[in-house]
Amino acid sequence: MQTAIAAKAAPPAHLAAPQEEDVFLTLTVAGQACAVPVMMVRDVLGAHAITRIPLAPGEVAGSLNLRGRIVTALDLRLRLGLPARDAEAPPAMSVVVEQHGELYALLVDQVGEVVPLPARNFAANPPTLDPLWREVSKGVHRQEGQLVIALDVGRVLAIG
């Protein structure tokens, strides 16, 4: 709703404070910049002990303890069909998101910053995008010389 309004009232929006819906946390997986709505993010963690879960879907890296709550960790690289992280690479960081009262940690290579990604810079998925990516991407944001994929967290978590 509000994005629609913002899109219509594009010129004054320059001056207006960005809507909360437009604020994203950027992150990097295998060199690709992605973003998740900051409203969904509960925490950002550095390297964390993760318990493997046998028989779980491949994308599930395991579960971790976030201040007494059990968080299911998903490896975003594997979720996006990208090669697994190098053993020597710096440890993954986790972006903890909440969905239906459950916490999930998305393992990413790097966590960027909280930035406004206004709706007017938003473009639909290019039709040539890999189907796996198209499924989890809401669209593409053009941002200072790079393209940022807006992840649909609900879809990212829809596995198994």
Binding site: T51, G62, L64, N65, G68, H100
Partner: protein, 866 residues
Amino acid sequence: MDDLLADFLTETHEGLVALDSALVRLERSPDDQPTLSEVFRLVHTIKGTCGFLGLSRLEAVAHAAENVLGRYRDGTLPVTPSGITLILSALDRVKAIVAGIESNGNEPVGEDAPLIAALNAAAEGEVAAVPPPVEVPQPVAVAAPVVPAAPVVAAAPPAEEHAHPVEAHAHDPAADAAAPGAGGVAAPQTIRVSVEVLENLMTLVSELVLTRNQLLQLARAHQSDAFAVPLQRLSHITSDLQEGVMKTRMQPIGNAWAKLPRLVRDLSHELGKKIELDMRGAQTELDRQVLELIRDPLTHMVRNSGDHGLESPADRRAAGKSETGRIILNAYHEGGHIIIEVGDDGRGLPVEKIRAKALANGLTTEAELAQMSEREVLAFIFAPGFSTAQQVTAVSGRGVGMDVVKTNIEKIGGTVELTSREGRGTTFTIKIPLTLAIASALIVEAGGERFALPQIGVVELVRVGAAQDGAPRIERIKDAAVLRLRDRLLPLVSLAGLLRLPPASEDEGFVAVMQVGGQAFGIILDRVFDTEEIVVKPVAPILRHITMFSGNTILGDGSVIMILDPNGIARAAGVGLDTTAEEERRGVPAVGMRSDASTALLLFRAGDGGPKAVPLGLIARLEDIPGERIEMSGLTPVVQYRGGLMPVVPLSAGWMPPGGATRQPVLVFTENDRAMGLAVEEILDVLDETLEIQPGTGRPGYIGSAVIAGRVTEVIDTAYWLAQAGEDWFRPNRPSRADATRPRLLLVEDSAFFRHLVVPALSAGGYEVTALENPVAALKLREEGVPFDAIISDIEMPGMDGIAFAQTLRAGGTWSEAPLIALSSRAEPTDVARGREAGFTDYVAKYDREALLRSLADCLSAPLAA
């Protein structure tokens, strides 16, 4: 004091307090209809409850008051102050009686006739000229030595050793004395709190427990003395708090029994039996979640006791017992568990009849029975559908639904045991954990990962090692690991193997001996650490499909750990009743590898008679489908299965889809993209057996019978049942294979059984099959010039065998170039070499349908490609 009575008193206190003020209001505004209704309802409730409890004096007074109020409410009598006074005095009498009950558990003796007469007169519209004074001193209490009937009952509560946490009666004598009202009525100090608040509290306490555990672990590691004492204190307080919060969730088991007196009463009328229900320990408390889950099984067991356990009055007299049968419910705490006994003094379970029936139902064999203790024999009543056979009532008949009871109790981590003495009665003993939220678990390691294994279900831990150090050793029968434990042969499953983790040293480790649903098995573990109290948390939704885990938790060291589900493990390992892919995996390769002629057979039960069997190789999957998923498409039961509709064909006549979540075991047969499910009652076992089929009696659907595991077992005719799924089932649905171009196959096979198995498989694969029982008949066809695209032949046949047949064919004639596939139970390399030498194109193990179809496809496509 009887818990029911205590509840009644609490309720009556509340009612009386409300009544007092409502009556005063009514007096001021006699036309206030809502207040009048409220007053009537309150008095009515008191009357109803005390009638139920057999408090006759109280009932009579309340009844008379109710009559007057009824007239008021109906508008046939005007509300007058004198009338209200009369009712108030009746209430005072009620209070006095209630106080008497409270002090010694019985109604005090007293004379209510004048009061009742006045009330009745008022109800008739006469002005009660003499509202009798509240009879504080009872008129000549001749036979009332117990009750001083003083207005102030300084109640030193005799039977209140168990203080109700939720409904804590204030039994401070001083407070009682100071309380208003003639009877020294103590207002119960109870507040209503929503369950949600309590659940939240419980969650918070769980977190606190975890944090405490973490702190303790840290303190142990760092040896920091400064924190030791406050930590110790924190630890104690946390434990107390945990206990306290747990108590708020506790409810007396009597709540689950509340409906039973009525049930028993109805039952006794229905059955013409005299039944007395004796409920003891109703105040024993347990977690409300557990309480909810135990309610239905208990009801069922009480009904069974009344229905089947107790004899008719005549029979009881004849047996020298009192006419009235007793059903005894008893509950008490023991350790971290609650024990509930449901007993009767009826005829007991007829052991001999159960033996006979277990045999008749094919649940066991004579030899096994001979070795069973009486207790083990009795346990048959928990077998699914045990008493669904005809002679339900003649025999004990107790089995109706006892399997469901057992399953439900086991679901919450409980156990049921049973003792019975013929002619003296039966007692079921249920043992359930007090709460489901916190469990004691063993922390174990397998495949380099740690897991929590709930201790309930673990019977013992056995260290296994190399032979020299005297510890028992894991032995192997082919690939199956077993442990010789005392006199038993315990099947073992490797936890690492089940979870697809790299196994550690095979020879050393531990075996957790488990008892799940009457099945004993062992879980091979690499290491066992210690026990820990764990707070069970559900796993994330995306992991719920992994049945091996029942939840997860955080350990004292802060790490997350998965909680194993012994039931899931038993199922996955094929130890339990239903089997999964694991069993297929074990079974199928065995077929191809065998050098002797034994076949992996799936044993199951369905319909009448003994067990049935089908070669495992023919089955694609074993499924356990909830009854609610079975839908009707026209007259055919179907189930949505892997994106398509699968017809479900019942093996037994008169089969009905089970309702609700009851699971229906189904053998799934697939061809191309289609699947068909054969509904059976129970999957029993997978065995490797040499099949020697005796021709059957021509019963449709059965090829014949064979002796399997020492028992006569009917072997089903898969082709027949597949045809039941709908006539188009075998029609190839590959459009590329129109009938005209279907490759023609010749099958030479002496065993009718194999012909029955192979022909439908090949037909469904899109081939036109001619089956013959010996090479001589085949050679006759060759002379007649019948062409075939490929020939499949058995090796071992009487007369001309497959080798000779192949040599004959290759020697010349119209079929000399045709692909020739050997189908044999002998698949040793030497056999294969011999076959190839004789001229066979390929060599396929019997029952390996996939391999046969693959081989055919290869053979038939090769010439085209060339």
